[in-house]
Amino acid sequence: MTTSIMIVGVGGQGTLLAGRILGNAAIARGYDVKMSEVHGMSQRGGSVVTCVRYGEKVYSPVIAEGGADVILAFEQLEAYRYLNYLKKGGGMLMNTRAIDPMPVITGVAEYPGDIPGKIKNAGARVVAADAFAAAVEAGSAKAVNVVLIGLLAAETEIPKDVWMNAVEQTVPPKFLEINKKAFDLGYHLR
């Protein structure tokens, strides 16, 4: 059995780091792991996707439509955009932050309202949380991605201490205390 987790967001939000923490946690559990990242053009504020897949033996590093067990969305509109990648019965974990894309800024498109509600209505399981507030509570607005990793951790069968180790491995030591707190707040956010 391969577990497929997709992390989506806006370029610059720190989705890459979150993916690496998840990758390290899965490796520590002894899984074969593959992860696909996006570098380059779309990191300039575009829509970005990181795929992490782990299990006994993983082939494709990329998750296809209808293939994600869990989607972790750093931004509402991106949660909405990638909903069709969620497996039937999978979980959509989303940050309630909204970042206007350029077509909305220039007024040619409208930012859809009540996205969590619409995703629920489409039949998916949704956990929507204000990761920004939790990050501020932990001591830094920049820790949003680690709050979200905490939210994701509670959804997986990888034990909490394995996750904690992965966080320690990946974040700079200077910010470790804040990030540990952020992870913990995220873990209990639902």
């Binding site: 490796i27 992860m35 570098h39 380059g40 053009m41 082939y59 590093p61 990329v62 894309p101 859809p112």
Partner: protein, 577 residues
């Protein structure tokens, strides 16, 4: 212990373990991290950013001739630039091993076109290996050096976005530096002029024959026996997708994409009832099979455009639709944008205002083609803006002679814009070239270049003096201007486009993401705002028009203050305002 590595990091590790001594490259997504990793982690290897891929490959060829193992890395379009040295290095062969890494970009995640570098390998008559994960990236690089030396040939390593930018587990080994090849003066091998080249031409064909024989029985091509009903031939990332879609099939996994193993393919095809060839882009393996008279299923069901994924292959083979959650509401796109504080924003705001024809180029500033500035008319390949602007002018007509500018980034100008400028000066053009000097190669993630004064290792070095360079070319009108001084910049552009003489405007302001660039705190809109939306014309991601008026998102604003200069009502002030 196994480590989690990007394909690109694994290639770098392979170069290190293979005892490579010289790496010269030009950045290009998705190839960039190979050379960055080498510069950062492997001090035993001399590494550098060259001004373009042609120079990079020539440096690597020289190092190989001198007897060292050498590497050059680039993206697919970079190999077009380096094609000239590659095609003749195929004749000379090598002394120390020479590996050229080329990363294709199926799906055009970060490229202006989609092309299949396997065809370049065939045309240049050099062998090409194609790894399918990070562990193979490392192993193939090491073997590539042995093959290069054994068969006296450059070897191409084909990567792609999903191989270069995927992480998987890799076992590290020690570095082994092979004895350096002795330098022997040998004009018949290394001086390619007609009489010598004709002899080497014959050698190239013989080498291909030898490598064909090698391909039949090498570790790169392997058969994975399973059901005899269905056989799949695949290579690289497509192999990984196919393994998910055909769990019971037998596989012929190809790791050496050129030359292909004809007998092995025949034998494999004969052992199964039905053969699928699963390959992205062009039907290279498929056509080879067809030439051998083997019936295969390929491009009639699998697309030759874009990248594959497992769900799409599943549909192509078995039909049916993927069961997933559907949304009917249209979802606004999220195209990439110039960052908050980007110096290019000032330039494009002015170009839009003046309504000029803008001959564009490739870099972060290509985003100036998108709304709301939408002020780039054409963009083809790196360096083309200058030549195209000159061509437009020579084609004649009022708008092209007086209202056309070329816009080109600093790294791109050095890459191949400077030759266009020489042409413009030499052939009596009167165009205006705006060099967007943001002190870095931005698009590919901040690489130093000959204008920044630093090497790939961050050491101080000589830097090109752009003003003097332009003057030396024969451009008498060279102006340095700040693109955030909107009025001053507009005046300069008006003056230079009005002049009959060729001119260069150096738009100088550093990239907002550079560490040493520090603006003040975020700005905010105060109640003097008349909601005229003049600031919205900048297309800054931090500024949006909400129901209650225009607002600045403090989390995104970096305090560059450009918006304060377009606001006629003084309605944008410091955060405390």
């Amino acid at each position: 212990m196994k480590k989690f590595m990007l394909g690109n990091e694994a290639v770098a590790r392979g170069a290190y373990e293979a005892g490579v001594s010289v790496v010269s490259s030009y950045p290009g997504t998705p190839s960039t991290e190979i050379t960055e990793t080498i510069a950062k982690h492997y001090d035993e290897i001399y590494s550098e950013w060259a001004p373009n891929e042609k120079v990079a490959l020539e440096v690597a060829i020289g190092a190989s001739f001198a007897g060292a193992r050498a590497m050059s890395c680039m993206k697919h379009v970079g190999l077009n630039v380096a094609a000239d040295p590659l095609f003749t290095a195929s004749y000379t062969g090598v002394n120390g091993g020479l590996v050229v890494c080329v990363a294709d970009d199926q799906g055009m995640h970060s490229s202006q076109n989609e092309q299949d570098s396997r065809l370049t390998a065939i045309a240049a008559k050099v062998p090409m290996l194609e790894p399918a994960d990070s562990a193979e990236c490392k192993a193939y690089v090491k073997r590539a050096y042995e093959l290069s030396e054994q068969y006296d040939t450059p070897v191409l390593l084909r990567l792609s976005t999903r191989i270069s930018h995927s992480q998987s587990l890799v076992e590290s080994e020690e570095r082994v530096t092979p004895p350096r090849g002795a330098y022997v003066k040998d004009a018949a091998k290394y001086v390619m002029m007609p009489a010598m080249a004709m002899k080497r031409r014959h050698y190239v064909e013989k080498r291909l024959d030898d490598m064909r024989a090698f391909a039949e029985d090498c570790e790169f091509n392997r058969i994975e026996r399973n059901s005899a009903e269905v056989g799949v031939i695949a290579a690289g990332i497509a192999y990984q997708y196919a393994k998910e879609v055909f769990p019971d099939a037998s596989f012929l996994k190809i790791g050496m994409i050129h030359p292909l193993p004809s007998d092995l393919i025949r034998q494999f095809a004969a052992s199964v009832k039905k053969v699928y060839v699963v390959e992205e882009l062009d039907p290279v393996i498929e056509n080879h099979c067809k030439v051998l008279g083997i019936e295969v299923i390929g491009k009639e069901i699998f697309p030759n455009i874009g990248e594959f994924n497992a769900a799409q292959l599943q549909r192509a083979v078995y039909g049916g639709a993927v069961d997933s959650y559907r949304i009917e509401e249209p979802i606004p796109g999220r195209p990439p944008v110039m960052c908050a504080g980007c110096p290019h924003r000032g330039t494009f705001y002015v170009l839009k205002k003046l309504g000029l024809v803008v001959s564009g180029d490739i870099g972060c500033y290509t985003l100036g083609a998108l709304p709301p500035t939408a002020s780039m008319d054409v963009c083809v390949c790196m360096g083309a803006s200058v030549g195209m602007a000159h061509g437009m002018e020579k084609a004649g007509g009022e708008i092209f002679t007086k209202k056309t500018v070329a816009v080109i980034g600093d790294s791109t100008f050095i890459h191949s814009g400077v030759t266009g400028l020489i042409n413009m000066a030499y052939n009596k053009g009167g165009g205006t070239v705006i060099v967007l000097d943001n002190s870095i190669t931005g698009m590919t993630g901040h690489q130093d270049n000959p204008l920044t004064g630093l090497t790939i290792k961050g050491e101080p070095t000589r830097s090109v003096d752009l003003v003097k360079l332009c003057e030396a070319i024969g451009i008498e009108r060279v102006v340095v201007a700040d693109p955030f001084d909107l009025d001053g910049f507009e005046r300069v552009v008006r003056e230079e486009t009005a002049s009959d003489a060729p001119s260069v405007i150096i738009a100088r302001r550093p990239c907002a993401l550079l560490k040493n660039v520090k603006y003040g705190g975020a700005f905010a809109v105060n109640n003097a705002c008349k909601n005229c939306k003049a600031c919205m014309k900048l297309g800054c991601p931090a500024i949006s028009a909400k129901a209650g008026g225009v607002a600045i998102d403090a989390a995104q604003c970096n305090g560059c203050g450009l918006c304060t200069r377009v606001c006629k009502f003084g309605a944008i002030g410091g955060a405390e305002a």
